[in-house]
């Protein structure tokens, strides 16, 4: 796709695991919002892929999102376009990094030890990771845990926290500084919103917690055995078939080495305290409130 008018000559460059990309946006507010959201991915790389966001002002009724020459979506909502850009990034990062095993999970880190939260959508894993990052742990990801099957280390994928409206009251201080039209569907919160040193380095899985958000329940945790943990890890693996026996062996090793738990989450603060205890981390202030 040729560079559209209104776009800067030298757009920012990013690397998300094996994906080197840039984002070209014709609208200055969209551009600034996306650059802030993806700041943790900034890297001096030669981009292999180009995302383009075309604004509505140039004879179009809707924003358009393109990846290279492919039209991904159109919407009158800039917030929806940014949300879908981030979702596309998730897919493309997995595809561009086939040597890693991916879990649909969030994760945070402390002193090189990671706690992983594998779970399906709407389980509260983003809110939990955000709460723990605010509590002083470092952010690994809220969506894709990337495991090197040889070393069993986790490679950070520090995409912006994608916070849905139900979680906004819990993190009012992290509201992105952007026009309402860019954040009225979903907030894309950069990890730097919770501190200058909020992004984790490569780390070693230490604890596995399978969260399940259940409004109104008492927050509670229970241990699960390694075989059950492996089955649940596999259920949340995104590329196990492609990873083959090596990927399965990596997940089995994680299940064997890491204590695993199921966490019924009713209140964010209580859930954060439990996770901090599991990691042996001294508690810091955790904002009270339920998970949205």
């Amino acid at each position: 796709m040729t560079s559209p008018s209104g776009a800067p000559a030298d757009p920012p460059r990013f690397r998300a695991l094996g994906l080197a990309f840039t984002v070209v946006a014709t609208d200055a507010e969209v551009r600034e919002h996306v650059e802030r959201a993806l700041h943790a991915f900034r890297a001096p790389v030669e981009p292999a892929r180009v995302y383009t966001v075309l604004d509505r002002a140039q004879g179009r009724r809707e924003y358009e999102l393109h990846l290279d020459d492919h039209h991904l979506m159109s919407s009158a909502s800039a917030s929806e376009v940014v949300r879908d850009l981030v979702r596309s990034l998730n897919r493309e990062a997995v595809a561009a990094t086939p040597e890693l095993v991916f879990l649909h999970a969030s994760a945070v880190e402390h002193d090189g030890a990671a706690v992983i939260f594998p779970a399906s959508m709407e389980s509260g894993k983003t809110t939990l990771a955000a709460g723990l990052t605010r509590a002083g742990l470092r952010y690994v990801t809220d969506e894709l845990v990337a495991v090197d099957p040889r070393s069993l280390t986790v490679r950070p994928y520090p995409k912006p926290f994608s916070l849905d409206p139900g979680s906004w009251p819990l993190f009012a201080e992290a509201r992105p500084a952007a026009p309402d039209g860019l954040i009225d569907v979903q907030w894309q919160v950069p990890p730097s919103a919770f501190g200058d040193d909020a992004v984790a380095p490569d780390c070693t899985p230490a604890v596995i917690v399978f969260p399940r958000y259940q409004p109104g329940v008492e927050t509670a945790v229970r241990a699960v055995g390694p075989a059950e943990a492996l089955m649940s890890l596999a259920a949340n693996a995104l590329n196990l078939r492609e990873s083959g026996a090596m990927g399965a062996a990596a997940l089995a090793a994680l299940a064997d080495r890491c204590p695993a738990y199921r966490l019924d989450v009713g209140q964010l603060d209580a859930a954060c305290r439990i996770v901090l205890d599991l990691l042996g981390v001294e508690r810091r202030t955790v904002a009270a409130g339920g998970l949205g």
């Binding site: 059950e228 693996a237 064997d256």
Partner: protein, 124 residues
């Protein structure tokens, strides 16, 4: 010929079951999880099922295996054989065994999906 009725048309007491080479067993505590490299499916075995799985090396028929387990556990042979037949039937239907049941390529379940079955153990 065993006097115990087969649990299905797929398996019978004279069958000599053998683990499929594409199926990897991960032993986690007393339990095991099987991963089929071809179909991408997983199967969760309780301790008793994991023990039987380790014995499915193609060296003897189910009736013989059941007799050995019954003797080792001091259990009634017919009960043990019924349980082993049930487990082998599940494994065969999951495509985990050579020469019986569907091939892994045409195996049950969604690609990459994790499926679980837990079996009643042979009576100890």
């Amino acid at each position: 010929m065993s006097d115990v009725a087969p649990s299905s048309s797929l398996v019978h007491a004279d069958l000599v079951p053998r683990r499929r080479a594409s199926v990897h067993a991960f032993e986690l505590g007393a339990e095991s999880v099987l991963y089929d490299d071809v179909s991408g499916t997983l199967h969760h075995l309780n301790p008793q099922a994991a023990l039987v799985w380790r014995c499915l090396d193609g060296s003897g028929p189910i009736s013989e295996l059941a007799a050995d387990l019954a003797e080792a556990y001091g259990a009634e042979r017919a009960t043990v054989e019924r349980d082993v037949l049930g487990l082998v039937d599940h494994l065969a239907r999951a495509g985990a065994l050579e020469g019986v049941g569907p091939s892994p390529e045409a195996g049950p379940g969604d690609e990459g999906a994790a499926t679980a079955f837990l079996h009643d153990p042979p009576a100890p």
